[in-house]
Amino acid sequence: MRLRIHAHHAAFLSAVYFLLGLAGVANTATPAPTDPKSHWAFQPPGPVALPAVQNTNWPRTALDRFILARLEAVGAEPAPAADPRTLVRRMTLDMTGLPPTPEEVDRFVEDCRRARSIELSPPLLNRGQPLPESAISDLIERLLARPAYGERWGRHWLDIARYSDTKGYVYAREERRFVHSPTYRDWVIRAFNEDLPYDRFLLLQMAADQMADPDSPDLAAMGFLTGGRRFIGVTHDIIDDRIDVVTRGTMALTVQCARCHDHKYDPIPIQDYYSLYGVFHGCDDKLTPLSEINDAELAKRRQILDEAMSKHREEAAQRLRQRVGEYLTAQLELEKYPEEGFDQILSADDIIPASVRRWRDFLHTSASRDSVQSILGPWLAVAALSESEFAASGAATLASALRSPGIHPWILRAFTSAPPPKSMREVSERYGRIFTEAETQPETPETAVLRAFLRDPDSPTVVPETGIINNEAFFPTSVTESLWKLQGDVDRRLIELGVPAALIVADRQPGPNPRVFKRGSPSRLGESVPRQFLGILAGPERKPFEHGSGRLELARAIAHPNNPLTARVMVNRLWQHHFGVGLVRTASDFGLRAEPPTHPELLDWLALRFMSEGWSIKAMHRLILASAVYQQSSRPFSPAPAPPATARPDTIAHTTPLIQAKSRSPVRPPGPPAPYASFPVRRLDFEQLRDSMLFVSGELDPAVGGRSADLLDGGNRRRSVYGFVDRQFLPGVLRTFDFANPDIHVAVRYETTVPQQALYFLNGSFAAQRAKALAAATDSLAAPERIRRLYSLLFQRTPTERDVATGLRFLADVAADPPPAPPPVRETPWRYGTGEYDSTRHQLKSFVALPYFSGESWQGAANWPGGATGWAQLTAEGGHPGNTLAHGCIRRWVAPIDAVVRITGSLHHEPEPGDGVRAFIVSSRQGELKSANIHHAEVDMGLNDMSVKAGETIDFIVDIGGTLNSDQFKWAPKITSAEQAWDARKDFTGPKPEPTYLAPWEQYVQVLLLSNEFAFLD
């Protein structure tokens, strides 16, 4: 019951108005299957017969028959075809995210006209006749050939891939930006533009490391896996994110739900989750530059990093070699050690939990190797005993194990020349002593074997050479911090240089099979499971993956034509972006609780067609764009009024099915139109709106690819897809506009309408700047012509007479009512600057105003400390002197009137380090009034009544005194006369720019940019 109701109401996301009536048609018909295996989405898409339709004229492609059959079944009528201007606007915005230019519109209209071979006046083109196929297919090809296509459709995929340019929350030691994200983004865009077959598109994103050359640009594809949040390095969470992006992204399966227990609804047991966990756990992340870099600075930073890393790895390994006994003992009480991700050691002397686990895995996987048996065989034999078993038969078990061939003589000696060990701990301790001795004794063949054992790259006494991103847990905090800092230096240089780089995952030596974490907790290990594909899809023949981590095999199983989900999921996504809603509305959940498809046969037909066309995404676009359902008007068919009898007869009229259809059509009850009975009106998303505004104002920078830049920076005029996406500090504006949450795989964006969106366009500088540019670009035209030009640029149509009149009236009204003069800027008596005070002559030698206001403080440059004055800074409360005595900071008060004033306030120098500061109050007329040397103390800087003359300056000067060290201070003097008060803190302000009001035409253009006609798509 619950499921059924849900099916009615769930598609709130950006579900489209016209689908409201849909629920009653299909959704209730399919009850949830009792046997999960029989769920529709797990069945292969079957060959589908094209449904029969009555109106055989309407369909332009086979897919139209599926739509029409359903419409006819409910007695609904498709809408007339859209007119050419509407269609070219729709297709261009849909395919490229940008509106067409007036020239492109004219060309398409002209192509339609020419293809008709008869003269058609514009009204006739509006009459709802289908437009000529040749003109449309030419337009489709032109659109698909534009780089803007990949920029638009690549962004749709980036929503799926939870694209971000930052790692999320990180400790301050590490660079928070990704090096590789722009390269991945550009790879996705290029893949769409080049129509990379979708199966290969997926394979590369999951396993390019095993398919492409070591220097192939396709390695960038792996950003799909590695672009997720870093979860401050907690492996389980990183893997969880990767499992989610892969399974929901490609197959619309919510495998993530099985992390703690079997999936509640879908046939995904917890074991399957950990089978995939094992695939992703067997890999290290590896940053791979994709082009030659000859940069001395980078080489230098890398060398520093490499040297530090080698040194610390060796130091850690040395400690590991000395403490084998303790690590063996630790194997007996694994539960004492914190889990992965919360196991940073504080001191170098601590047992390294990561090494404890490395020992555990090593003992598990390598126990059978001869080289291991000969040394650890006896230990392994007794370690298998329980405490009581050890007490009973430990000695015997040990003795028997020591009799195995090839046991290292030192081991034999340690256990035969002394009384048998009383506990497992003692066994481990003896092992520890053997290795310690081997390290200190001179080299002999016997010690060589032991030493080689300790230095084998696979040995748990070695710290893996996999970079700080993978091996940070082996070092104490201070070392980890220093290595991350050096890695950050390298990363920052790579980002600065804009080097294309891939963050790939590379398989490690396969470890033991993954174990289930009971209730998702890594400290509660359950059964061991093979690395293998999901049971529900692999079927009874399922075999464990055989090669390495199994990641390539996993990718192949996903991108396989026999996978019932992959093709369906992608055609559904394409459909959704063309029509606003998918055939399955829960686009990333095809599980048992998902919405059944509204047109199941169409979904299957499209999926099969997709694969038979070689997984070509562009082929799917061609098919959908060429369809009658896509080319419909957004205004539904209405049976009345009848067409005017005066309609010009022409040769096409009798082939137009609509007129005949009309008489057949029963009168539908009032209510929302049937689904697909008209094209859904679409609202432009944030990127379409922003890019369109830049485009129509002629300012859009068409540069392709490269570094990401702040979208809200006024100077950034590139397409939004190249915007810097910061998952940790996603600007409020982007959230407000329902931009894809870069933490969660987003299949369907929300579509909300809130006043903050309006405020952004109304008050923010973005729309105002575009309005100015567009007004300037059309400046040379006379008023009515200028309005016509604006309408054709913005709306792809000619304004009506009423439109022109409305515009002219507005302009006249604005002109008749000029804006008030901006309120006079209240002259502030305070100035902020730096200068040198000569304390022996009691003279201020100079005063130079601080040039930059940060919003909080006056300072030398945008970055503080910065500029010529270094640390010099003045805030409302106090400040900091400049780096030398030449740059004392000066808060200056210019007396506005003749008055008798009193100065109050104290100077507070808080910090203990350093030698404090010097402070002076100096009048331009009366000389030095007061001075103080102060360190880690507070001193009253008040002055009693004194007279000042208008224009006289009183300077409050602070300099560093002796040395530049911890010189920040608090000092906000207050000056009071009998009538007035000037308070340094309350009066503190930045430069007050005069408001510059938009000119009349700019105001008009801004309104056009804010209009619904601009923001919606018919």
């Binding site: 769930a10 909300t752 919003g855 720019p993 619904n1012």
Partner: protein
């Protein structure tokens, strides 16, 4: 157009969807009154609290120095505790008794330390939960657990859930405001994230160090038009949009966008007013104190008064309550900064008749160890390490039975032992005060119905009955 739908049918669909999640709600009634995702919605049952203010002492306030007196610690001062110290983030050593005096307050005799002496004047309204516990001794996951009910996954914050459940009473202000002086706490905006809920439910961050309203709320004033110029522009916009809609037939999505510009216009006035403390009488400003914590608490009251649903007040950027060393002086300073404002707020809410339906939450992401933290070479740092095994938070106001301490930690305050309360229990209790059955306030995402309390949580009945 006297009742133009502010939001499109997608919104209605959304609400129907909410209806599914909210379960027992009357679908029809809800649809009639709420067309905006932020429109007012009824809860499952009559709520005691209509709004929430959360004082977040980020970093982890020490419970044994504030609301959980442990005289037994004094007996062991300088000696090892009789039981082994629990494993926390760092090494800790001997027992470290509180340097602060505890005293009984009010008729209830609730014991509170001198650090919160002014707040303690309201002791009979305060219910301390002394048996809180979390999962790990690390800030990041514990912040996420306390704010979003999950240590790891991107989940909606408590404020987002409340906004989703109840909407907001003032469309001209953000419904959920998070204030933090001087910048962001650890984990930044993840603390007030909307997770998988629509972005409108996310907390709006405000740095109360700013005094100018332009800096408090983005784009709240136009630098390029006066209000009267803007009015004329909006009149033109309205006319163009009306012409546009006339040719297309009524579409609520078009109307929603038209209305959003009118709302924006009004918001410019309302928001300016709400954040402008000059409009408060001097004695009120003095009661809260003219410093950033006083100001942000007073702004919070003005917001709550104007219908904002959820306000979270952070102590400061980073984690000011993370007292690993020299805890005595730091605690005195931090508590001194907020004790007055909290007491003032409680007094002020009472005198305005808002106390009974405002839920107050005080707490951090965990507490601190009763044993002293050790530095290099085992030297005492005179501070305390993180402690997730046991800590205190307190609730007051809407629906809370004050003057009681619920649950208890062991003799030394290390571990919650009596009537243990999880973070889910706390959330369940808060939702209860707001009129929700926490098991029925759900949202369908990625294949299942999620709730704030995941799969557990019990309402702490003695606090609310």
């Amino acid at each position: 157009m006297n009742r133009s739908p502010l939001y499109p049918p997608t919104r209605r669909e959304f609400l129907k969807r909410c209806g599914m999640g909210l379960g027992a709600l009357s679908l029809g009634g809800m649809l009639a009154q709420a067309e905006s995702p932020l429109g007012i919605r009824a809860s499952h049952f009559a709520p005691k609290a209509r709004r929430v203010i959360h004082f977040f002492l980020n970093g982890g306030p020490s419970h044994v120095d504030t609301f959980d007196p442990k005289p037994a610690l004094a007996k062991y001062a300088g000696q090892s505790l009789p039981s082994e110290n629990l494993r926390t983030e760092r090494k800790t050593g001997v027992a470290f008794p509180t340097p602060f005096q505890f005293q009984r307050y009010g008729r209830s005799g609730l014991e509170i330390s001198e650090l919160f002496a002014r707040t303690a004047a309201h002791a009979d309204d305060i219910a301390v939960i002394r048996s809180m516990h979390a999962l790990v001794p690390n800030h990041e996951p514990s912040l996420m657990l306390m704010n979003c009910g999950d240590s790891v996954q991107a989940r909606p914050s408590v404020g987002s859930w409340v906004l989703y459940g109840l909407g907001t009473e003032n469309q001209n202000l953000p419904g959920f405001v998070a204030m933090c002086p001087g910048g962001m706490p650890i984990k930044d905006s993840e603390n007030w994230q909307a997770g998988f809920l629509p972005g409108v439910f996310q907390g709006t961050f405000v740095d109360p160090q700013h005094r100018e309203v332009e800096k408090l709320i983005e784009n709240i004033r136009s630098p390029h038009a006066t209000l009267s110029m803007q009015r004329r522009q909006l009149d033109l916009l309205r006319q163009l949009n009306a012409d546009h809609e006339r040719q297309r037939g009524s579409d609520p999505r078009l109307e929603a966008r038209i209305e959003s510009f009118e709302l924006a216009f009004r918001m410019q006035l309302e928001a300016t007013d709400a954040f402008d403390l000059r409009r408060e009488p001097a004695h009120i400003r003095e009661m809260y104190g003219d410093h950033v914590h006083g100001r942000q608490t007073l702004i919070a009251r003005r917001l709550l008064e104007r219908g904002v649903r959820f306000v979270q007040l952070w102590h400061g950027a980073g984690q000011p309550w993370d007292h690993h060393e020299n805890i005595e002086a730091s605690l005195r300073k931090n508590a001194g900064e907020i004790d007055g404002p909290i007491a003032a707020l409680m007094t002020d809410l009472k005198q305005r008749g808002m106390f009974e339906d405002t839920l107050i939450l005080w707490g951090g992401e965990f507490g601190r160890t009763p044993s002293v933290e050790l530095g290099e070479g085992g030297k005492s740092k005179l501070g305390r390490d993180h402690n997730h095994y046991g800590f205190s938070v307190w609730l007051a106001g809407g629906g809370i039975q004050g003057g009681q301490a619920y649950g208890a930690t062991d003799d030394f305050g290390f571990r919650a032992v009596e009537k243990k309360a999880s973070v889910h229990d706390l959330h369940a209790t808060m939702l209860h005060c707001l009129g929700f059955d926490h098991e029925r306030l759900t949202y369908r995402h990625a294949g299942r119905d999620f709730r704030l309390t995941d799969v557990s949580g019990e309402v702490l009945r003695p606090l609310v009955s």
